[in-house]
Symmetry: C2
Subunit: 632 residues, 2 copies
């Protein structure tokens, strides 16, 4: 049977000892009550729910799956989901970091982010229902009228109603400019929404009394493309005069998908048949609100990746220390030697170290970004708010992409460490892979994240490289300091090499950009994103080494906690020598090769031949000179 | 709907133009009839079966799965499998490369290997039934008595009976020394076999009248460990006086596994309850016969990886050229520009090139090894036979490991290129991932392949580095020649760098080995295997460039085939600059880091702490000095 132990020690170490999250209570008046004791208590409450309620339903939910009833267009969630959801709502966890004016608890975002990690690790599917509500809440809170907010927000935060994001249509996935759903103004101030949406997570289910769809659609006078999309809230049941669910709105689920993973999360086709909706925000400005939801969703997807990596790692590590198979290498020719637990085999240990060094590093990065979001939202200083927001914007595509990739890698390696047991469903660990891969796809595929990072966040000439400066300036300072500390001097060398590779890549990309050679950049954008992720995680490991050494110094002799800190030091060494250094070198060569990608090879030769149905490239360099690369 | 077009052009190019497989008909008397025309005709027959019969049942088989009936302990295969299997058997394909004395067609092994690629691409599950028979045939043909051969082989080659390999027990997977199944001699010369086996592929099904299990078990006087294991043939039905299936032998299927993939291939728990079995080969020498089956199986697993990579790539490439989504990068700020097929996005093209450059390269390597197996089996010169066998032994773990890894990578990337469509089952492409991962696990996990390659094949002092010489001597010569040819000079530079990295790694490993630091080697053995694979595939690309240029030179002007050859040249460039060079550099640094892995970090710090249930390493360096590393 699979296990999940919420990694509270690791989470506390990162939040409290490395990032000093408790300080927020002093710096930010709105978070005055979020001292470390309070935060620690809430983390414990979440971890208990995750371990004792959500996790025991994970494997059974995967097996049972959601079922669709065409007779009444309803969706049934697996056994136990309803009770678990109600318990989650009753704990007030949906509104943990939400506005107290609408019933939220007003705690920092970072707490919500840590909760996301544990909830998705324990039960990715179950976590999707309140998870979507959280994104919808944010968009409504920021853009909706007070009237709409008063009707929807309290019921969403209490968990009585849930939310969705209805973006995708069959012809419009990554490319939302192709959306066709229509919104026709009605005399009562509402709009009639007509169109079909697909892949709507939690679009229909039996956990809440009402479902509030946030729908992208076009008004009659809308310009073509992304600049003609508006956002509407479309409830399943129209709120009556008392704000209770009244008449059924024709917003129907027409079927659910059978998928590789997240089988207990309903993925719905939705049909809006003149359904009543209300405009959220300004006409034609729906993409702005959508990006607000999307940024929140992208960080959440990163946390899904982190949670799945953690649970996959825990199960692999546990199995490796229990499964006896094969003699120690030194005893291979000794007929009397007994077989040992496979964790004693160096290859197995290296795989486990590879996994954990990345999980711990990215956890620190993710929580750091979460704290920046709190600074961005609530800090009294406007410049602190702005810088924090820009920094979080720079790191969000990295977290989404790197962590979802990491969860696939770790989950796959976890299956392999289980041998044949990993392949069979009964063991429970292949679910982590099957659940993981959606995180690399939805809320913008990882290729889209690489474009967003490279073209919108870094190569943005209007920004004058400000965002990069927010990343690089403290990093350079940190590495300088690390060089003179014997505990971090070796790591600092790897960081210096890495910074050089990163800077060379930035320069090369700038030059290609100036010359209009955008394809040459685009072809290697994922490597650029990953390279930045390696550097950012390296920065986190430097911080963790300092914190671990501080922790060790403060311990009484022979304290059991010493092993915890020493593990962090070993994992840091492993990260710099086994992961960061080799990967940076590889990516340096890839980016260098990328410049030749479309340069030295004629276009006809670039893509595999027409006999397998592959069209030729139509892309040509352009010479617009500098300016913002993208304006979406 | 997914597609599969057997890549006959690619297969013909490799076999005929690059490897000159037709020459075997002149060099080897037994293959006198296997001229290129005959071989080409058979390839076409196989491709038609794969495309028109096997492939249409792939998705439906995955959905329907095998079902187990506990009442009569039977297994039902999905709809259409029986008819398809009978058709396959009727074509004589099971015995294509088998001994004509028992009804085989006596064609070269390489043809069988090419057939494996197409059959597993089209329907991995279906191909497993005759696939297992092929391995069992080989073990019986080599080790069984004439009496046994006369009874079993003709019926297995005709497809009337099938075969299995019964190795794994719950406590004995990678570690077969732990096997407990017992064999007690009976007065009639047979043995009573008692024990439980798990994960037995095709252990029970409804496609054949009899199933012949090859079972590893211990005789009463057996020494402990791998040196006390014997091999037995245990039929489901005991052959009667006429060689027809008679009384039911108590060798029962007690259940089938529910798995992540290969759902239409039955994975059985088997219970031998005093079942009658006959010794195959000498007592206690079962591992020898098992390794014979295993080597054959490992190459076959490599072909499974190749086939799955190919079909995943074909579907990704086709979807990418059809799916319209997103404007070309140069048009991003042009409101009038239309969205384009995603293959026009440079990132998508790069992914497709990454896939195809490896698929083509490894296909050439796999077919080259297959031809060596023919030389090993049938060449008139004993030294040619011996060298060919050694070379194939060196490359087999590389093909098994690299190709199964490749299929996971390509299938995952293929899902991602399909966006949300890839995640839902209806599209059919997530099956390729779910089917792929078993190939990284069974017939020895990829970590076991890395150990086999590193410790048994390379660091074998008894062999005096002969095997490496068989690889390195022609490689060095080839690279020298390639340097002076403008068409390959750039690639030759990458190869030279690669050879240097490889040689340094070999030297470092030898020194670690001499010092008894086996864990330090073991921790990086997979990188060493992969590094050798990159080099071997590079060698194949050099050959393919020569063949493509020859092909181009021989074409009339404006011949449509020119695009095919030019694609190969572009893919070769891509392989050397985008794959081999960056990967070799990364692996060089990993291997260098590996020496520090257990050296600079105290043992206590190496593995994550006990709080997550992870035991400490018990391994210590030993100082046996040189000698063979392993003797299994």
């Amino acid at each position: 049977m699979p296990i999940y132990n919420p990694p509270l020690d690791d989470i506390r170490f990162v939040l409290n000892e490395v990032l000093k999250a408790g300080a927020l209570a002093r710096e930010i008046p709105d978070y005055a009550e979020a001292d470390w004791d309070t935060v620690g208590g809430m983390l414990e409450a979440v971890s208990e729910f995750a371990r004792d309620v959500a996790f025991p339903l994970n494997q059974s939910g995967d097996k049972e799956q959601c079922t669709y009833n065409p007779a009444d267009k309803s969706v049934k969630t697996p056994k136990g989901f309803d009770e678990a959801y109600q318990q989650y709502a009753a704990l007030g966890l949906i509104g943990m970091s939400a506005d107290p004016a609408y019933g939220g608890m007003g705690m920092p975002q970072y707490l919500n982010v840590a909760a996301s990690e544990m909830l998705t690790a324990a039960n990715f599917s179950l976590s999707s229902y309140p998870g979507l509500t959280g994104g919808a809440y944010k968009a409504l809170h920021k853009f909706a009228s007070d009237d709409l907010k008063d009707i929807y927000l309290p019921k969403m935060l209490s968990g009585e109603w849930s939310g969705t994001m209805c973006l995708t249509e069959p012809q419009a996935g990554s490319d939302l400019g192709l959306i066709r759903t229509k919104a026709v103004p009605q005399n009562d101030g509402s709009h009639a929404i007509t169109g079909s949406k697909i892949f709507i997570t939690c679009g229909e289910h039996d956990l809440t009394r009402n479902i509030c769809h946030l729908v992208l659609a076009r008004l009659p006078d809308a310009p073509e493309g992304v600049k003609g999309i508006s956002l509407f809230v479309v409830p399943k049941f129209l709120p009556d005069a008392n704000g209770e669910p009244g008449a059924r709105n024709p917003a129907f689920c027409t079927g659910i998908e059978h998928k590789m993973g997240i089988n207990a999360s309903s993925t719905c086709s939705m049909s809006f048949e003149g359904a009543k909706g209300w405009l959220v925000g300004e006409p034609h400005k729906g993409m702005k609100a959508m990006f607000m939801m999307m940024n929140d969703a992208r960080l959440k997807v990163g946390m899904q990746g982190l949670g799945l990596s953690e649970i996959a790692w825990q199960n692999a590590a546990t199995y490796a220390s229990e499964r006896v198979q094969g003699k120690a290498l030194k005893d291979f020719n000794n007929p009397d030697a007994k077989s040992v637990a496979i964790i004693n085999h160096a290859s197995v240990r290296r795989h486990l170290m590879d996994m954990k060094a990345q999980i711990d590093g990215f956890r620190a990065l993710a929580y750091d970004v979460a704290i920046r979001l709190d600074l961005a939202a609530k800090h009294p200083e406007p410049t602190v708010r702005r810088d924090a927001e820009e920094y979080a914007g720079l790191m969000t595509p990295i977290l989404k992409s790197c962590l979802s990739d990491l969860s696939c890698t770790v989950a796959q390696r976890g299956i392999q460490l289980h041998g044949g047991m990993g392949f069979i469903n009964e063991t429970g660990v292949n679910q982590y892979y099957r659940d993981s891969i959606i995180a690399t796809i939805y809320e913008g595929t990882n290729d889209i994240q690489a474009m967003d990072f490279t073209f919108r966040k870094v190569l943005d000439f209007n920004d004058h490289m400000n965002r990069l400066g927010l990343f690089m300036a403290p990093l350079t300072e940190q590495v300088e300091a690390a060089k003179s500390n014997p505990a971090t001097a070796e790591a600092a060398k790897v960081m210096e090499e890495g910074i050089k590779i990163f800077q060379n890549t930035c320069t090369a990309f700038m030059q290609l950009g100036m010359a209009g050679k955008l394809d040459e950049i685009h072809a290697q954008a994922d490597h650029f994103l990953n390279m930045t992720g390696r550097l950012a995680v390296g920065s986190m490991w430097l911080k963790m080494v300092d914190a671990a050494n501080e922790g060790l110094a403060a311990l009484p002799e022979n304290d059991g906690k010493a092993a915890f800190y020493r593990n962090k030091l070993a994992l840091s060494d492993h990260y710099f020598t086994h992961i960061m250094r080799p990967d940076m070198k590889r990516m340096e060569l890839l980016v260098a090769a990328g410049a030749a990608f479309l340069g030295n090879i004629s276009r006809e030769q670039q893509v595999p031949g027409p006999e397998l149905g592959i069209a030729k490239s139509e892309s040509k360099p352009d010479n617009r000179g500098h300016g913002p690369f993208f304006t979406f």
